[in-house]
């Protein structure tokens, strides 16, 4: 029971059906009731008509015998009029209520009760001298001893000239009403007809309510309940996060509009979710990218910091060591003078001097490394710096047998930075090239302006004809203190310093090499003028 009431509570269709059903029952009952009442009334008015006709007929059929004062004949006539199925009783009585003639012989001579319709139908009080009612009641329905309906009809016997002039002289001329005719007519047939009609009508109404309810139910189920249920099912799925559904309703009514709106909402939701997922994925990718970038930057920062502290330490060490070295060199030279040239002692002292000079070289390189950060920044023409550097080194012993092949970009290539730092890079490139070629060959230098990721760079290419760089050395090329040169020849700082300078300025150095053929270094530095 509770489940049914719960279902009704939750179902719009059930509520609608109950409301429509109740309304139909009420309307049908009113129809049923009024129809039956109308029929009853119609039948009663017909019965009254027939009753009145019967009274008139009785009056006329007994008129002559009463004028002739043939009482036997009158009595006989009444007895004949009475039939068991139709006319139950016919009485004629005078104004005082005394029964003169009756189809029931037992009632002859009796008086009609003052409470009966004979009196109350015309008089306001149960007294014949009381005043008369405006509208008279000539019939009433009551039940007989057997329980079936009986209609009592009453008609007057008015005075007329042949009455008061008759030989019997019973009635005076002044009397208005001489007596009454009263008949009890059985309504059994009418009752039977009414019952049949009531049964038929009831059956019709019930059938009508049932059929209409069934149709209304089907219509509500089809139009409301089923679509709502479909909608609810899909909505529950969607609410559960499953957006791969749509409502299969194609009607043009409000339900269809609702389904269409809901479908478009699901579509929007799905799109939004897809977009969100896409964003999330993108964001994750971006985060991973940024994390990797940060890690790289971090690593490079650590490297830079390492190099910087190394540089500071080198500067301090260089400064301190140069003083004692001066002493070593000076006193070695002074000592050398006390021995014969080419004597053993002279040769030994030469070793001391050479080694002291080697120390000095190492220290000079360390100092260069310490100067990796620029001291003074300015606008520098790269072609000019290149030419000056080449001019400076040309006369040095290392470059005596080296040819320089220059191919410089005609327009000015201006970059911002410290001239000495650029010289440092170029010098390192030239020294490396010369070492790679064992001091003999051609160094080709090319400058050009290039574009990289929308930034403008100057590219300086240094190509030698040297031994080339082995594949396994490539990755360590820019690491500080990494060198392939023989001990005492290189410190492994040249490329690392150059790379550090280029990176610090926003550029980089790239290498291409073929073992046995030569190496090309490409130094890229950002141009000051980035406008097109």
């Amino acid at each position: 029971m509770k489940r049914i009431s719960d279902h009704i509570e939750k179902s719009v269709a059930a509520k609608l059906m109950i409301a429509i059903g109740l309304l139909m029952i009420v309307v049908s009952f009113i129809f049923w009731y009024t129809t039956l009442q109308k029929q009853k009334k119609d039948l009663m008015s017909i019965a009254v008509k027939y009753g009145t006709s019967f009274i008139n007929f009785t009056r006329q059929s007994t008129h002559y015998s009463m004028l002739q004062f043939q009482r036997e004949m009158t009595q006989k006539a009444l007895e004949n009029l009475s039939t068991p199925a139709g006319v139950e009783n016919v009485n004629i009585y005078d104004h005082s209520g005394k029964i003169y003639f009756s189809s029931d012989k037992d009632r002859l001579g009796q008086s009609v009760a003052t409470s009966s319709l004979a009196c109350t139908g015309c008089h306001t009080e149960p007294d014949r001298s009381s005043s008369l009612l405006k509208s008279r009641q000539t019939w009433e329905v009551h039940e007989n001893t057997e329980g079936s309906s009986v209609m009592k009809v009453i008609g007057t016997i008015p005075n007329s000239p042949d009455c008061y002039t008759a030989q019997c002289h019973i009635h005076a001329k002044e009397q208005n009403i001489l007596g009454f005719i009263e008949a009890d007519l059985s309504l059994g047939l009418i009752d039977e007809a009414l019952l049949k009609q009531r049964l038929a009508l009831t059956a019709y109404v019930i059938l009508f309510v049932l059929v209409i309810s069934l149709f209304v139910g089907i219509i509500i189920y089809k139009i409301v309940s089923k679509p709502v249920q479909t909608l609810v099912t899909v909505m529950e799925k969607v609410a559960g996060g499953d957006l791969g559904h749509s409502v299969p309703i194609n009607s043009t009514d409000e339900m269809g509009v609702l389904a269409k709106a809901f479908n478009s909402m699901i579509k929007d939701l799905k799109e939004a979710r897809d977009q969100r997922e896409e964003w999330t994925n993108k964001l994750e990718e971006e985060i991973q990218k940024k994390t990797a970038e940060i890690e790289r930057t971090h690593a490079s920062l650590i490297q830079t910091e390492k190099l910087a502290s190394l540089g500071r330490m080198a500067a301090g060490v260089a400064h301190e060591i140069n003083n004692p070295l001066t002493g070593v060199v000076t006193f070695s030279h002074l000592l050398k003078k006390q021995f014969e040239p080419d004597s053993d002692a002279d040769k030994d002292i030469n070793v001391i001097i050479e080694q002291a000079e080697r120390c000095s070289k190492i220290i000079n390189n360390l100092l260069t490394f310490a100067r990796a950060t620029p001291s003074e920044k300015g606008e520098v023409n790269i072609n000019e710096v290149l030419s000056r550097t080449i001019f400076m080194i040309k006369n040095q012993a290392k470059f005596h047998h080296i040819k320089f092949d220059l191919s410089l970009e005609e327009k000015q290539l201006v970059i911002t930075g410290d001239t000495s730092q650029f010289q440092q890079i170029f010098l390192n490139m030239f020294i490396n090239a010369a070492d790679a070629m064992n001091g003999r060959g051609t160094i080709t230098v090319v400058t050009r302006s290039v574009k990289e990721e929308n930034n403008k760079f100057v590219e300086i290419e240094f190509t030698d004809e040297g031994c080339g760089i082995k594949e396994e050395d490539m990755s360590k090329l820019f690491e500080p203190f990494y060198t392939t040169k023989p001990v005492g020849k290189g410190t492994g700082l040249g490329l690392s310093v150059s790379h550090g300078i280029a990176k610090h300025l926003g550029g980089h150095i790239k290498v291409k090499s073929a073992v046995g053929k030569g190496t090309s270094f490409f130094v890229r530095l950002p141009l000051t003028d980035q406008s097109a």
Binding site: A315, A318, H319, E320, N322, N323, P324, L325, T326, G327, V328, V329, T330, F331, H333, L334, K337, I353, A356, E357, S360, L367, R371, S375, E376, S420
Partner: protein, 121 residues
């Protein structure tokens, strides 16, 4: 023979220069700081000053400009253990005649001094 004053806070440099120069017959004086050096120049006349760039009591550049403003005839040769091209250029602009980087051999010093003294004043 020219008189040379060596101003350096490092004893080994003073000793090295003194010995190198004396071996070549130069008369020398030594000062362990800028102030002491300036006092010595005031008392005695020197032709050449070997001046260290970095000293604790007084910066070599400051000493150089003091010497150049009071005794423009004195030739100053800067010596430094740790220098850049810029400092060298700056020193030369301020009136130094040469710039020698440590460590140096006796020959470097001698030839640098000879270069000046050979030149006609």
């Amino acid at each position: 023979m020219k008189k040379v004053l060596i101003i350096d806070d490092e004893a080994i440099i003073r000793m090295s220069c003194e010995r190198s120069l004396q071996a070549e017959g130069f008369s020398t004086g030594v000062a362990s700081g800028g102030r002491e050096g300036l006092e010595m120049i005031e008392k005695e006349k020197y032709d050449v000053v070997l001046l260290d760039l970095k000293m604790p009591d007084m910066d070599g550049m400051e000493v150089l400009s003091n010497i150049k403003s009071s005794w423009p005839d004195i030739h100053v040769i800067m010596i430094s253990g740790y220098s850049t091209v810029d400092t060298a250029v700056q020193a030369l602009r301020c009136g130094a005649v040469n710039f020698i980087q440590k460590p140096f051999s006796p020959d470097t010093i001698i030839s640098a001094i000879n270069d000046i003294t050979d030149k006609p004043d």
